[in-house]
Amino acid sequence: MSETPSVELRNVTRDFRRRRTSLTSPAPVVRAVDDVSLTVARGERIGIVGESGSGKSTLLRLICGLDRPTSGEVYVEGRPVHDQPPWRLGWLRATLQLVFQDPMSSLDPRMRVRDIVAEPLVAQGRRSGNRERVVELLERVGLSAEAADRYPHQFSGGQRQRISVARALAPDPDILVADEPVSALDVSVRAQVLNLIDEVVEGFDLTLVFVSHDLSVVRHVCDRVAVMRRGQLVEVAPTEQLFAAPEHPYTRSLLAAVPDLQQALAGRTAEDLAAGVARRER
């Protein structure tokens, strides 16, 4: 390997101690991430899929330096993240940015959009030129410059995700981490937000780490997919290969649960689709 990978995970494990249930027995331990190793090359778009509770969100927090692994190593751009205190991760904040799941809670309701988008800049000590930068970013994500003076509640879910993307792009990062960015959105705006993410990853030459429980969404934006189950990676494969010939039985069952247009046209009823959804959500 000549080039440093964007993100590298080496045997990463994260245990959480649960509240003790009895005085005599030790507190039960939940292994949220279990010995995960994964390398994401520069410019790659990787999807991490799995059902809720599979550990994908924990893995994401470890990559972002928002949590520390119990054991194992995390490197971003070749630099260690796993053993650094928060105040030593300033470089990471400029390199790696996040888009969150819930467009309602990921923007501070008391801040104007201007301050929200400029937050990474201000936090990283940039004082001048922020005004222009915010307008430029807002226009880049398809919002008007007037949006800067409004509050988050004045926007729809899709528009809020655009603000979130603008904030993530503010420090000119190399890596974009998206945590279920469209799961809380209405179907009609999902495609728009996905296209936007697609577009900015392309336009800014970013590495994308895209976490989702939804394979059909991942298929749309990623070129490689990692399937997680109970804290472990069960299969990592290029997207087309994974969809065409899934190796692991769990991947197959995930794929079978994806309702798609073909199935719908093949005469499946709304009840079948709903059953599919219910199965997947379980």
Partner: protein
Amino acid sequence: MSDIQGLPAVAATRPAEAPGRRRPLNPSLLIGGTIVAAIVLLALVSYVWTPWPPMRVLPTEPYQTPNAEHWLGTDKLRRDVFTQILVGARTTLFVGLVAVGVAAVVGVPLGILAAMTPGWLGQLVMRTNDVLLAFPALLLAIMFAALYGGSTRVAMIAIGIATIPAFARITRSGALSVMASEYVVAARAAGRSPLGIAWRHVLPNVAGLVIVQASVSFAIAILAEAALAYLGLGTPTGQASWGRMLFEAQTTLRAAPHLALIPGGAIALSVLGFNLFGDGLRDWLDPKLEGR
């Protein structure tokens, strides 16, 4: 994009709202603000003008009912009641401000600290808080008065200290929910320091709670000062205070009820005013209510 169409709808659509307009003043703010403004005005006026020299024994009849010369009558020491109400408004406001100020300045940072440090330090802060909370404010004030002598200053500091836990508690509960939100994670990912998060995210988002607590505490402080003065432990004789007036009126309650009703009414009205003002201010400051 055929693969997108099969996706289930999760969240309800939220139509884009109209851009922000000026926030309308709500009735609570209007009424509360008027009462508060009136009290402030009374206090200010007392510095430049009073109908009679303040606290002076006048060459007139005691126990007068309201009349043209003495608008609210005179008390048993032949002092003008309206003058006392004016000068007493100063004491009331001053006590409220200092007590709430002490409580908020100490209590709010403690509450935020407790919420942001989940370990033993946060626990220590909150347990200490619980101990203080279990201690009645008035009892603490009486203790202080016994130790340092009864005066307005001692009374308001004691009331302030006794009110700290209320602020710490309410701030902590609000701060905990703020800390659990994704925008705090976003701020961390953006590189904000804990202090920056406390200042830019936690404080503005608990401000509404703190304001309501402040208005309630302000009202309680006024009552507590009145109670202390009534017990003879707060504002000493010879100085004007609504509580003091009430205290002095009790012996002649039957003969001259207006001497108790007037300061009593002033206390009740100001308590109501500050409560309404706080409620109204909270709503008015909430950007979510803008443009609705």
